[in-house]
């Protein structure tokens, strides 16, 4: 974790200690392009960077696991360690033990730019908020409601009507009224691209050298990697019309992180063998890899999934469908489970659906013990199916290795007379509706017992319920067809508290023209036709209007329709909040579209429970199917006499048919605006935006500021010599805290503390903190001058609310004053007060300057320091142990500042955040916090523990170890015992949000059950068992979450792994250009942010920059030099990046230091530093 400062000194530990010291710098010469050249030099700072200090304390320690080890409190913030001497780094080269120089000509002849590595521009459309509720109204129109929004938005692709939708975070599956399955993949700035590859094989013969003629026993001349499959380049086809080629085929020059420099050829003695980069005397065969990318193009549109039906047989269209399972496998597998039920009651599973392959490959039939009518698949391993007979089927044995599960078991309905009609499952909950529309909650459901224990009846009469993310629940009212949200669902109270009606209005209510056709087809779907065969009717607009005209004008409007939905029963039966809010809207609706009223009230049988309702008499549906479309169609055509008079309400009450919350993340701290009808705001104001809000620039505010200044001038300017009426006195705040005492044995001792604030002669405030303690019955005290405090940091652990005070002296001693308060509130009060006093005595207030230096600690706390003007001038260097660090609210893993006030951060959960210009938040409230620009921020990280086992001849691997062994449940080092039950979240701020699960993504790989094997503890582990392996371990992970506040806004929806902003001085006259910002997504895509400026620090959109492999680290230097490190450890330089060509043109592969895999790179004005996986620091020589 190094970051090079602008003048070429690596002046910042990245995520750990203090940050990018890019303040001001002597000798910056803008405009001169930097060139990278020559080779890498190991920097002889330390052979291995220590776990704390410069090599960010965030991800050091345990090299075997690569896991974060949180260093000890006492030394986790050491500003002193991170600065390197700021004179020329070349001095270090002389002492460098591992000098490594290579001379390369520039541009590197070795690596001509690969053709495909050119920039590909995605359209900068506004991306959909990544958390939306999907729903289908009674007419088959699909709507989405954002968690940040207050309007239902019509799905962008509204050509089709749907009867079912099932959503995940990035996509939505649906069954349209033509009975075909469609998938809607939300647009994103990052394309879905997949690599196709083919190998060209050649054999040497004495006549022509290497040539295409192979021996008869050899592989195909064009083959796959194994050589067994023939694979000619022109034979590789796109899998479906929804894909397109990104470019033509080209040769892959990268061989294991190094450029081959020989046209991509790799050599071997014979097929199959180990290939090497260099040709040897005995190299008889050679091969090279051709690659080509294809890209999924059908985004923000419904893409048809080819029908499973054999044309020769009778069609068996799908009747229900459910998407889930995304929590079973993490990235990179990222599988989705798509399950469907056909009209004949069969259950189908869609193979190979994942984010990179959104369509999946084929349908496979699953055996079921009965006829299924409906299916629900949870985010994790729950899968429930309702059967024709009213029981539920529960799938057992679903896991990572077997997403289809292994067996079924049957759950009986709550009451025998009313069978189950509908189920919906979440991670640990099952909700069901029986045929009498009662809502039921299944108690005791979890992964180990997917069947649960018993039913509990809930309040409400519902048509359907749907469980979404975080086990939140939505339902559609049985009689009013309104959408309800279950309020109060938390991890501890999964059944929630009450149903609350969602009254968000539709943004597109006035577009009637499109709805006439939808009405007809929706009518078909409710009527007979859909039940019989799969024959679909897709009437055109003309059909609709013709039919409407024919039947319409004299169709009577049933009088009771007005009263129908207002049946008092629904408001009483479905709990508080229902009915009342929608009353006035209902009136309008029932006049405008009168038919659904009586239909709903009198004959529930015709509602879209086609399959279930088959048992009921069929007289009513046919009547309704006839009556329903015309009248409604008429009103939209404006022919209905009553409808003409009535204003067509913009907020008429929607009638819903289906809802899916699988892509809708509602959390405890979410503030939803769904429950009130808001007026006067346009839909575009739905999401928080960072551009300065009108309120802050409003004339009235400016005038108040200005008048106050004038008033002070008028009333005070000439009278400063007057005596103050109130003399400033010393103010003392006292309290009781605990103190981690300075002497051994270290322990918490009770102390009295007093903060004395006084005003100095110059009017400045200063404060002293006294700590009174008793030792050997003798009263003593120590004191801290707050103007000497360099850092005040909360130190949160499992049990104590404590904080530490550092002074330069204390930093040198590595022993801060460590105090603990009894309650969180108490600690926050003290922290806020002490922080305010420190800032006041240093006269630091308001928002940090653009040049401020930002840093994060290994716990994720964020600090800012104001640089002195001469920070990087070597004559008057402020010793960094004297820099004052002030805390900002929020929680980040990485922070990156630009020098022009643009600051970005990345959370532990990879969420990207942009600084809003506020200050405070977190534990700083009141005066220590700005009024505006403070928002809720959350972060999620994993806690890891290890299960260790030893092999013995009797029982095989067991949890019985040798007496000398580590704990059988331990941390990564094995030194601490960590059991599943006994392990707590890292501090009181964090709460568990998941259960323990096996982590399969550990370095070294695992077997199917997650085990890693080794000959003994501690050793290097591998993912397969050999004869010599006597021990094994596996890693368990559990997610925990923290919610805080800070001056940060999320940059949705793409999550990031790394980010870099061009270092610029604030006075640099570049106002015409946006600020260059590059990032690597957590999946490894390289991205360039467009439109970033001081006024719009979040920028507008991402530009995807194509790469041949995932990247991990990126850095942009002051002269637009972009360097990056790929996941295989190779370094790349991006050519021709400039303000006018923000994404550059191509990648140049720069060879890494020999036998080292780089993992991070940082670029300054002209210097380039890199860090390899073993913690060595490298300096690139010859960059000018």
């Amino acid at each position: 974790m190094v970051r090079a400062g602008r003048s070429g000194c690596a002046s910042g530990g990245r995520a750990g200690g203090p940050p990018v010291a890019r303040a001001r710098e002597a000798g910056m010469r803008p405009g001169r392009p930097a060139r990278c050249d020559a080779g890498w030099d190991g920097v002889g700072l330390t052979p291995k960077l220590p776990a704390q200090g410069i090599s960010c304390p965030v991800r050091p320690a345990d090299p075997a696991s690569g896991r974060t080890q949180l260093p000890d409190v006492s030394c986790y913030f050491l500003p002193r360690l991170w600065t390197l001497p700021s004179d020329s780094p070349r001095k270090w080269q002389a002492h460098c033990p591992r000098r490594w120089r290579r001379t390369l000509t520039w541009p590197p002849a070795a690596s001509p730019p690969p053709a495909a590595a050119t920039t590909t521009i995605t359209t900068a459309t506004a991306t959909m908020p990544n958390s939306v509720l999907w729903a289908v109204d009674l007419f088959g129109k699909v709507y989405t409601l954002s968690t940040a929004g207050q309007y239902w938005e019509l799905c962008k692709d509204n050509r089709l009507e749907f009867k079912r939708v099932s959503a995940a975070m990035q996509c939505c599956w649906g069954i349209a009224c033509d009975n075909q399955v469609y998938v809607y993949v939300c647009a994103s700035d990052v394309p879905i691209r997949r690599r196709e590859e083919a190998y060209e094989n050649q054999r040497w013969n004495p006549v022509g050298g290497f040539c295409e003629k192979l021996l008869p026993s050899d592989r195909w001349q064009w083959s796959d990697v194994s050589g067994l499959q023939q694979r000619p380049l022109d034979g590789v086809a796109l899998p479906s019309p929804h894909w397109e080629w990104e470019s033509d085929w080209y040769v892959d020059e990268n061989f294991g992180g190094e450029p081959t420099e020989k046209g991509g050829w790799t050599y071997a003695i014979d097929f199959p063998a180990t290939y090497t980069r260099d040709k040897k005397w005995n190299s008889c065969v050679r091969r090279r890899r051709w690659i080509r990318y294809r890209r999924y193009k059908s985004r923000d549109t419904w893409a048809k999934i080819p029908s499973k039906d054999d044309p020769k047989q009778l069609p068996d269209p799908f009747n229900d469908l459910s998407v889930g399972g995304w929590e079973i496998t993490d990235e990179p597998v990222g599988r989705l489970s798509v399950w469907a039920v056909s009209l004949q009651g069969k259950v189908w599973y869609r193979e190979d659906v994942s984010h990179p392959n959104p369509e999946g490959s084929s349908w496979s039939l699953m055996d079921t013990p009965g006829e299924a009518v409906q299916i629900s698949c949870g985010p994790h391993d729950l899968l429930w199916v309702t059967l024709w007979e009213g029981q539920a089927l529960v799938r057992e044995g679903i896991n990572r290795n077997n997403p289809k599960g292994s067996s079924w078991s049957i759950v009986e309905p709550p009451t025998s007379e009313n069978g189950i009609m509908h189920v919906s499952v979440g991670v640990g909950v099952v909700w069901a509706i029986t045929k009498d529309r009662k809502v039921w909650f299944r108690r005791g459901v979890n992964s180990h017992n997917p069947c649960g224990t018993s039913w509990i009846e809930m309040v409400g009469d519902m048509m359907m319920v749907n469980v979404g993310l975080n086990d939140q629940v939505w339902g559609i009212g049985c009689e009013d067809r309104a959408m309800y949200f279950r309020q109060g669902v938390t991890q501890s109270e999964l059944s929630g508290k009450t149903w609350k009606a969602i009254v968000a209005s539709r943004e597109s209510d006035r577009s009637h023209s499109g709805s006439s056709s939808s009405l007809l087809s929706a009518g078909c779907f409710f009527g007979d036709e859909v039940r019989g065969s799969g024959e679909s009717c897709a009437p055109s607009d003309t059909d609709a209007s013709l039919e409407a005209e024919r039947l319409g004008p004299d169709q009577p409007v049933p009088a009771e329709s007005v009263d129908g939905p207002r049946n008092p029963r629904d408001s009483l039966a479905t709990g508080p909040g229902i009915g009342r809010t929608t009353e006035h809207a209902v009136e309008v609706t029932s006049l405008a579209t009168p038919a659904p009223g009586p239909g709903l009230a009198s004959t529930p049988a015709e509602l879209p429970w086609t399959n279930i309702d088959l048992k009921e008499p069929k007289r009513a549906p046919s009547h309704s199917a006839a009556g329903f479309p015309e009248t409604a169609g008429l009103s939209s055509l404006g022919l209905l006499p009553l409808g003409l008079e009535e204003p067509y309400g913009a907020d008429d009450h929607s009638l819903w048919a289906w809802v899916s919350g699988g892509g809708c993340a509602v959390e405890a701290h979410s503030v939803l605006k769904w429950f009130t009808i808001q007026s006067g705001l346009s839909p575009s104001v739905q999401t928080l935006s960072l551009s300065i809000t009108p309120a802050q620039t409003a004339a009235w505010r400016k005038q108040i500021f200005q008048q106050l200044t004038e008033r002070t001038k008028r009333e005070l300017e000439n009278f400063r010599h007057y005596e103050q009426a109130v003399e400033q006195s010393v103010w003392v705040k006292t309290g009781a805290l605990q103190w981690w005492c300075d002497w051994k044995p270290h322990k918490w001792v009770d102390v009295r503390v007093a903060l004395e604030q006084f005003t100095g002669l110059d009017g400045a405030r200063d404060s002293i903190l006294f700590i009174y303690y008793v030792v050997h019955e003798e009263k003593k005290y120590l004191h801290v001058f707050l103007n000497e405090v360099t850092l005040l940091v909360p130190v949160l652990n499992e049990t104590k609310h404590s904080f530490a005070l550092y002074t330069p002296e204390r930093t040198r001693q590595r022993w801060p004053v460590h105090l603990a308060a009894a309650t969180e509130q108490d600690m926050n009060d003290w922290l806020a007060l002490l922080n305010l006093s420190c800032c006041e005595s240093r006269r630091v207030h308001g928002r940090p300057s653009p040049q401020a230096i930002w840093s994060v600690t290994c716990k994720g706390d964020i600090f800012v320091s104001e640089p002195s003007p001469d920070l990087e001038a070597s004559e008057h260097m402020l010793p960094c142990d004297q820099m004052f660090w002030r805390q900002m609210g929020g929680h980040l893993r990485v922070v990156e500042a630009s020098g022009r006030g643009v600051v970005w951060g990345i959370g532990y959960d990879h969420t990207a955040w942009v600084y809003t210009g506020g200050y405070g938040g977190g534990c700083f409230q009141g005066l220590a916090s700005s009024t505006s620009n403070i928002y809720t921020q959350s972060d999620v990280k994993c806690v890891y523990i290890y299960e260790n086992q030893r092999w013995n001849p009797v029982t095989g691997y067991s949890s019985r170890g040798l007496p000398t062994d580590r704990y059988m449940w331990s941390d990564a080092s094995g030194l601490q015992e960590c059991t599943k039950a006994g392990t707590k979240p890292p501090s009181l701020q964090w709460t568990w949000v998941s259960d323990w699960s096996v982590d399969f993504s550990v370095p070294g790989g695992t077997d199917q059950e997650g085990w890693q094997y080794a000959s003994d503890f501690p050793a290097s582990y591998h993912g397969y068992k050999t004869m010599k392996d006597f021990v094994r371990r596996r890693c368990w992970a559990r997610k925990c979450k923290l919610v805080t506040t800070g001056p940060w806004l999320e940059v949705a929806p793409i999550t990031l792994g790394d980010v870099s902003i061009i270092p610029e001085s604030p006075d640099a006259n570049r106002s015409g250009h946006s600020i260059a910002l590059w990032a690597v997504s957590d999946k490894g895509d390289v991205l360039c942010r467009l439109g970033v400026s001081e006024l719009n620090p979040a920028g507008s959109s991402w530009l995807h920059v194509g790469t041949d492999q995932p990247f991990t680290s990126i850095s942009i230097g002051a002269c637009h030099q972009v360097w990056a490190v790929a996941r295989d450890g190779s370094a790349f330089y991006r050519g021709s990046v400039s303000p006018t060509q923000p994404a550059g043109d191509c990648w140049y592969h720069i060879p890494s230091p020999p036998k080292q895999r780089l993992k991070q790179v940082s670029v300054g004005q002209t210097s380039v530093y890199a860090l390899d996986e073993n913690g060595n620091l490298w300096y690139r020589q010859g960059v000018t």
Binding site: F705, Q757, S930
Partner: protein, 275 residues
């Protein structure tokens, strides 16, 4: 950009340069020099005039000293009004310093309350704070506070300690996230032209349609005479803390930022100076 927090500071540290002169009819042993002082706008006269009292008592005979009271151009100054309000209401158009006459005799019983000690001021101040919180939060916030928090509010005001005061007062300025403001805005509107001491009514910060009420909305509702008709000439100044906020200013914001320490918005309506 200036942050709203700076407004609080500016309001708190508002000072009025004042010249105290002893009333000519008071009997003194030697000539009483005028006394010059910077008075905090947010405080109370009797709370910050110990020095004045001491200064003039030195020149007076012991037996002539009774309760001190102040007068400006013939109007006795009510100590239970904040100083800034008194100045805005009575003297904002006059030249600085503000000339206040000090009396020790003939206490105007019908105009002024007695102020026997600082406890009286504290009692008055705390009752205002409580009344304001009753309007804002149905007294929930103030009742949840401890006695020492109440004390800290008062001590903060008495000792002119901004931090100390606001460490507690910020809690009184909070409101539930799901609401858009307080229940009612605690305000008092003062006019020199009427007999009535002030206007105080229930007024919500947010209109039924969700729009924020502005200062103009408030005046239109409770004191329509204060605002000029659309086409007419501006006859009055609407003044808080010596400034004239625009009528478009949201009332909730004003209440959070321009309230006096007693948590009331004290609004002065004064005739537009004719110069």
């Amino acid at each position: 950009m200036t942050d709203d927090k700076d407004v609080l500071r500016d309001v708190w540290f508002g000072r009025i340069p004042t010249c105290f002169t002893l009333y000519q009819d008071e009997i003194t042993e030697r000539e009483a020099e005028p006394y010059y002082l910077l008075l905090p706008r947010v405080s109370y006269l009797t709370l910050v005039t110990d020095k004045v009292k001491k200064h003039f008592q030195k020149v007076m005979r012991q037996e002539d000293i009774s309760e001190i009271w102040f007068e400006y151009e013939g109007t006795p100054l009510k100590w239970h009004y904040p100083i800034g309000l008194l100045f805005d209401l009575l003297a904002s158009s006059s030249a600085l310093p503000w000339n206040i006459t000090v009396h020790f005799k003939s206490f105007p019983e019908k105009d002024l309350l007695h102020c026997p000690s600082k406890d009286a001021i504290e009692a008055h101040f705390m009752s205002c704070v409580k009344e304001a919180d009753a309007l804002k939060h149905k007294s929930q916030v103030i009742n949840e506070m401890q006695k020492k928090d109440h004390k800290q509010l008062w001590m903060g005001l008495q000792n002119d300690r901004f931090d100390q005061f606001w460490a507690i007062n910020r809690k009184l300025m909070e409101y539930p996230a799901e609401e858009n403001g307080f229940r009612y805005i605690p305000f008092r509107i003062y006019q020199t032209t009427t007999e009535r001491p002030f206007i105080q009514k229930l007024f919500r910060p947010v209109a039924a349609d969700g729009q924020l009420h502005t200062l103009g909305d408030l005046l239109k509702e409770v004191c329509p005479s204060a605002i000029a008709p659309e086409d007419g000439e501006k006859k009055n100044q609407v003044m808080i803390h010596g400034i004239e906020p625009m009528l478009e200013t949201p009332l909730q914001w004003l209440s959070e930022h321009l309230s006096y320490p007693d948590n009331f918005l004290h609004i002065s309506i004064i005739p537009q100076p004719t110069d």
